[in-house]
Amino acid sequence: MKVALTGKRLSARSIAILGLLMALQLVLGKFPVFGIWSVRVDFVFLATFIMGWWFGPWWAGLAAVICDLVNTLILGGSGTYFVGFTISAFLGGVIYGVFFYRQNMSWWRVIMATLIIMLVVNVFLNTLWLTILYKTPFWGILPIRILKDLILTPIQVLLVYWLGTNRNMLSLRDRL
């Protein structure tokens, strides 16, 4: 029971690596380095992906939760803290973990993981949270969000696959 809930115990080394990855996730959220029209792309998902790939669903989900807390409560991200977005962040980490932890990288996996996160987390859940929190009309903003995510999905697929098969990243994973 204990193992199921907490995952494996972490060494000081793993804690430090996860902490640094979390810092990196926060930094990547502040550098939207490229974009088309007003759709800005940030690379937060890449840090989450690495956490899921290296540490598994449980720790990746947890780290994503902490990042969400830090981002909204401490660094003062946009809007306010709302537990729904934390759930979304957790699910994002868990999904990457389930798909990539101790698995071989393949296009199919990357596409499925990205699509599920996009549809379930970004399109459905996050829109639902906005509706609950601010009474934003669900069907009113849904098309816009779907359009945005349609543009982002192929970009995310390409980047995740590229990072997951990168030689440097693979050698880092072997040093874990």
């Binding site: 380095v33 490229f34 306010t80």
Partner: protein, 264 residues
């Protein structure tokens, strides 16, 4: 430029709100998001507005800083308010064209939703403006403690949290440095078509990941050399203290809840 991002939005000061226990501020700003769901007529919204204004006055921070917090969400706010105004019917109809109706009900609803956005954002801005990041991290750790009952790894999470906070500025500088180094060798960030822009990111991301990894290894070695053996059984250097003002704050929020229930 990065300095503003690192420290969050904290503005040093010495008001009553600044001196409150961070745990109270954290809990009460969660609670505020909860009780705003109670507001459903103009009296309740006005009351919450006045309450928020009093809280802002107590911080002795200029209103402009709070208004800045609204800016990132301005498009979502305008869009939501417009949709509410144009597509909800009921009450006196002022103007209509096909499915688009501007009615008294729609206008009032639009105003309520605008208020809800602004109040929620003001309260969370108040939290980040008046509380230093490290105290907030301590508060989060302290509030997570009860979860130890279900074997939630509180110590590990708290340690990760402080490591992450400590290294955000460092990694921020590092990112800028790598970007400048790559710029000096001819990489253009944010230029050209989407694929060229994406390609420009490659020489940025890998060095970042590699250097974070190396930093983490050094840090872990140094921690272990100083006798770190896991979270349990350690003492604390920074201790939070609960004071009278904290109890009064909780009382104030309880009163607000009562008044809201009466007014609605």
């Amino acid at each position: 430029m990065s300095n503003k991002l690192l420290l969050g939005r904290f503005i040093p000061g010495d008001s009553i709100v600044h001196r409150l226990d961070p745990r109270v501020k954290l809990l009460m700003s969660f609670y505020f998001v909860g009780i705003i769901f109670l507001a459903d007529n103009w009296q309740t919204y006005l009351f919450l507005f006045l309450f928020t204004m009093v809280a802002i006055l107590l911080t002795k921070i200029k209103l402009g800083f709070f208004i800045k917090g609204v800016r990132p969400l301005i498009w979502l706010i305008l869009f939501t308010v417009l949709l509410q105004m144009l597509f909800s019917s009921g009450g006196t109809v002022y103007w209509s064209w096909g499915p688009i109706v501007i009615s008294s009900y729609g206008v009032v609803n639009g105003i309520y939703i605008f208020m809800r956005f602004v109040l929620i954002i003001f309260m969370s801005t108040l939290l980040t403006l008046t509380t230093p990041p490290l105290s907030l991290a301590d508060a989060i750790e302290s509030l997570l403690k009860p979860l130890k009952v279900i074997h939630f790894p509180v110590y590990e999470v708290a340690l990760m949290l402080s490591i992450a906070l400590r290294f955000v500025p460092t990694l921020m500088d590092e990112t800028e440095k790598i970007m400048n180094a790559q710029r000096a060798r001819g990489v253009d960030f944010g230029e050209g078509n989407i694929f060229q822009q994406m390609r420009a990111i490659v020489p940025l991301l890998i060095p970042l990941f590699v250097s974070s990894f190396n930093r983490a290894e050094d840090l872990a070695t140094a921690m272990e050399a100083r006798g770190y053996q896991g979270g349990e059984g350690r003492s604390k250097y920074r201790v939070l203290s609960w004071q009278l003002a904290d109890n009064l704050t909780i009382l104030a929020f309880a009163l607000v809840t009562v008044v809201l229930v009466i007014l609605r």
